[in-house]
Every structure is written in structure tokens, then in C-alpha cells.
Symmetry: C2
Subunit: 332 residues, 2 copies
Amino acid sequence: MKRPTIHDVAAAAGVSRGTVSRVLNGDRYVSTAARLATERAIAETGYVVNRTARSLVTQRSGSVVMVLSEPHEKIFEDPNYSTSIRTSIRRLAERDLSLVMMIAGDAGDRDRVLRYVKGGHADGVLLLSTHAGDPLVDALHDVHIPVVSLGAVIGRENVIPYAACDERGGAQQMTRYLVEQGRKKIAMITGPMDTPGGIQRLEGFTDVLGRKASKKLIEHGDWTRLSGESAMARLLERSPDIDAVFAASDVMASGALTTLRAAGRRVPEDVALGGFDDSDVAMSTHPALTTVRQPLAEIAERTLSILLDLIDGAEHVPSVALPTQLIVRDST
Amino acid sequence: MKRPTIHDVAAAAGVSRGTVSRVLNGDRYVSTAARLATERAIAETGYVVNRTARSLVTQRSGSVVMVLSEPHEKIFEDPNYSTSIRTSIRRLAERDLSLVMMIAGDAGDRDRVLRYVKGGHADGVLLLSTHAGDPLVDALHDVHIPVVSLGAVIGRENVIPYAACDERGGAQQMTRYLVEQGRKKIAMITGPMDTPGGIQRLEGFTDVLGRKASKKLIEHGDWTRLSGESAMARLLERSPDIDAVFAASDVMASGALTTLRAAGRRVPEDVALGGFDDSDVAMSTHPALTTVRQPLAEIAERTLSILLDLIDGAEHVPSVALPTQLIVRDST
DNA sequence: TTGAAAGCGCTAACAC
DNA sequence: GTGTTAGCGCTTTCAA
């Protein structure tokens, strides 16, 4: 049999389609009798609203797009995505909103996202890992749709609200700790310099070290394990007497660890190694990584809250930066 | 200004809405003149089709749901998800289908998924990590919607088509290799026994070892690192003279490694350690893990192909099991 | 408090 | 080849 429509329910309940719609949407102008009859009819017929039809008239899609702006290959290499995605799905589901995932790695992808949003198929956009200068950000903003970012969008901090950890403060914690441990020559492996984690963790590093944070002691990675390995190799070649390294992510730290070990350096005896994120890998390396924990689940929660507020019509919602925590393990 | 509709385009092009619809949908009965005028009008007005309106009449949603059946907390702990999700999004986007993600951890979740699908909001369902006996599987099957699973659904192998690696063969490869290396007392840490990876990798293990695969040498984990640690501890306590361990996943192997090291066992000298998946962690442990590579990207591709064929109306599409490859590193 | 009816934007059948 | 038109299933005035 065909799927029952509001029409069938109305017939079964002996009321009009308008009334059925009213009880469906919790309108208060419905008599108890009509409501009861309708509810019974809904149960009997096994009726399920057709969101498509509803969307057509309400102009609301009932879904949110999550845009992953990382180039294809690297997406998800970062273990941090997991928590964010899980949290987003859950929070959205509570509001009966669904999560549509899109990748925006190249121009074609960005175009697809834009068409999708312009087509009115999303009530909000959740940006992940957006790099500075991404044209999609402004394009999206022009569409006048609620947009939020998990982690700041460099250069658009004031136009796209976000929730993030205190990147700079976290990096300061780690650097200060390394200094307090008596380390004299501390190097850093940063993330990409067009991401907040790349820029701000380096800022925190130089905040503490001042002029001791010389160019020679800084290398850039791209968050991958492999980039950590090679950055560490360059660092070691240039400054063999390094006695500490702060990698801007645990994954890169794990890469650096491989290089250090291959070079015959003992960790932490010869070189102390610090990571960032407190992701799963931090526990699986040997020695386990001293790292900076960022409250990922809470960041995701807050990001969603901002988006939902925006969708509910809030004009402007402030961004938030949550405190990090230094987790000392065996690598320092 | 309001978003232009097919009506505006028709007016601008000087044709009827029907004609616009025809060029939009690639109908062949359109004169070149009309087509050109329409295309120009589309460009001029910045028109984007409203999929909602289209869905309402075509009864097609233009999206596919990916259902993650893992209990909430564990989702994504498995690094294998990443590749699957990425591949799915990409393949679907090529067909202009979008990917909606839903979690089905508890009864309420399953109900939501079912309502969504029954509501006609998905043209197909992609199952991930479904456990044996999951009631959602049969419920979904009853809805008569294309359903495919990434990895077999235990107990429903013949009703839900799937793509997977040759789980059993892969486990045989590893076990045989361990035997060939001269290991005498080989233990195994399996996955959950209601998943294909849990069951079939153990089968491969016993296939090779025969009665030497005694109960004493088998422990069950749940794919997490922690479960690998504790399973290893139980194994060691029961049989201190173990000289090899085959963990059904790299993540669990990395947990086992921690326990082995804490117990003073050298890997691989005292105990050889094999994993499964060839995920990122396999390279980040020390020593790097010997493991069984499963062609994740291809498995995901094939899964999507099956689903798309089904959506295109194919009656029955055969499941596939792709060959694995033994990757020898330093842990054996 | 309720019913009737006008669309939301699009596709597809039909007539020309 | 092309225009016209009848819905797809729902919400939301407008009257009553």
C-alpha cells in the first residue's frame, strides 16, 4: 500500500487536513477531541510526515551541511574529526535536523556546496578545518545563511562565529613547561600557517620563548605523521643540539618520534617531546606523549549551540575559546 | 531579491516552464535555439534548481543515508571509518547525491533512522559496522529500499549485499606467516564476536592452527586500544610462554604492545605481534606493526557501486570479498 | 476552533 | 518540439 498522507489521516480522524497539520505542528488552536482523534488516526495509519513536502512550503530544509575543507586525501587523517562528527550528529538529531556531509577540497567541490546551499537545502552550515583565504567562506556568508566554524577561520574571526580551544594559551602551557623542565634549546614543528592551530600555537610558543624562538628552530608541517617525520629531520640537521621539540599535534609528534629514534636520540633523556590534542595516538606511542588536551567534545557542543542559536534567529552569537590542559606523560 | 524559479528562467528565455524543465533534465526533445536561450537565461538569473520541489514530484530524495551502528562512544575510534566516509561522499557527489549521516546506537536512534527512511528521505542506505542481530537491518529491508553494507552483516549475508576484504583469508595469511617464522605458541585477540571481522578473522586463525588454537590462547576485544591491553594481560597471565600474538586490529595490537612492554617482553624477540588493517597506527608504534592490509578505499568504492546499481534498479547485485596483503614490518 | 483553498517549485503527461 | 496543466504532500491564511 502507498504511504499514508495527511489526507488519509484527516479522513480516518474525520477532520480536515488543516487540523491534522495543526496537531502535527503543535498549534494551540485545536480542540482536545480533534487532537485525540487525529493522534489515533496517525497511529492507526502509521503516518510519517513527508519532510520534503513540508520543506517546500516552510522553506526550511531540516538539515545542516558539514563542510570539510581539507583537500581530499588529508581529510580524516586528523583523529580530531571523529569527535566533532559524532557530537554534531547527536546534537542535530535531538532537534530532528539531519547532517549532510560535503567535501570542499577543490573549486568544483566548493561550487557544489554553494549550489546546494543556494538551493535552500540547508538551514545552516558547519565549517570544519577551513583554511585562510578559502573563497567559500565569503560566498557562503553572502548567501545569508547561518554559518559557524569549528575552530576559527583565519581572517574571518569576526564574521564567522566559532568555538575553539585556547590555541595560543595551550601552546604557552607546553612551552613554559618545557622551559621549566630545564630544556634550553626548544624547537617547534608547527601546523600549516593558514590554519588557526598552525598560527596560534606558534604564537604561544614565541610568546614564552621570545627571541629564543629563532627561525632556525621552527619548521612547518601539514598535520600529517609524515610531515612530522621530515620536519624533525630538517630540524635535527640544522640544529643537532636540540633538547626539546614541541609538535603542534600528536600525530606530527609521533612522526617526529620516529625520526628522533632513527637518529639515535633518546626521548625524553636526550630530547623532550611534546604534542598537542591529546588524541588517541598520544597513548599509543612509546614513550606516551606529554601533550596539551583540548576539550574536543565540548568544543563541538559549543559550536553546535552557536549554530542552533543562529538558526533560531539569533542575530549575533559570540565565539568561545575553551581552556586547554597540560597532560604530562613519559615523553618529557 | 528572491531566488529565481523555473518560472523566472522561462520568462527570461521566452519559453515555457516545461521547456526549461526539459533542458534541465537533458530531455532530447528540445530545439537548439530553445536550449541556448534557456541556458543563457539560467546563467543570467543565477538559477539553481530547487531539489525539494523536484523531490516532491519525482519521489526521489537525492540523498543516501549512512548508518553507523556502533554504540555512540565507540564510533570513529576505528580509523577505518575515515576512508569509507571520504570515499562515499566523493562517489555520491559524482552522481549529485548527498550523504546524510545517522547514528543508530540505541533503539531511539534506530527508530529515527527508520522514520527517516520511511519518510522517503533517502534513495538508499549504506550500513557501516552493523552487528549481528541488529533489528534495524530487517526493518530496513522491509521498507524495500536499496541497502548495502560495508562489510558483511552477520546472519544476513544473503539478504544485504556487501563489499569486504577476505577476512578469513587475511587472518590465514598472518597466522601462516607466524607459524613459518617458527613461532610455537600463538595467541589471538579477536574482535567482537558479532562482527564479521571478529568471527572470520578467528576462523582464519583456527583454520591454520587447527587444535593448536586452544581456547586458552584466545581472548576477545572490542576493537579499542584498551581492550587490546587487557586482553593481552589476560593472555599473558594464563599462558606466560606465548611467543606470538595476532590481534584482529592494529589498534588492539597497539594496546597489546603496551601490555607486553610493561610485562618486560621484547617485541619481536620474545613475542611476535601481528595486527590487521594496516591503518595509520601500524606505522606509529615502535616497532612498526606487521599487519594485514585490507584495501579500504577499494572496498568502499565497491560498496558504493553496489548501492548505486541497486538505486539504478538492479534486482540483485553480488557481494564481493577483496584480497588482503600481508605487510611485514618490525614487530614479527 | 475548524474547514476550504491557495500555493511552495517542479516534473511529466497530454495536446497541439 | 513546445506550451499547458495537473498534481507531488504539506502549511497557512482567510472565512466562517
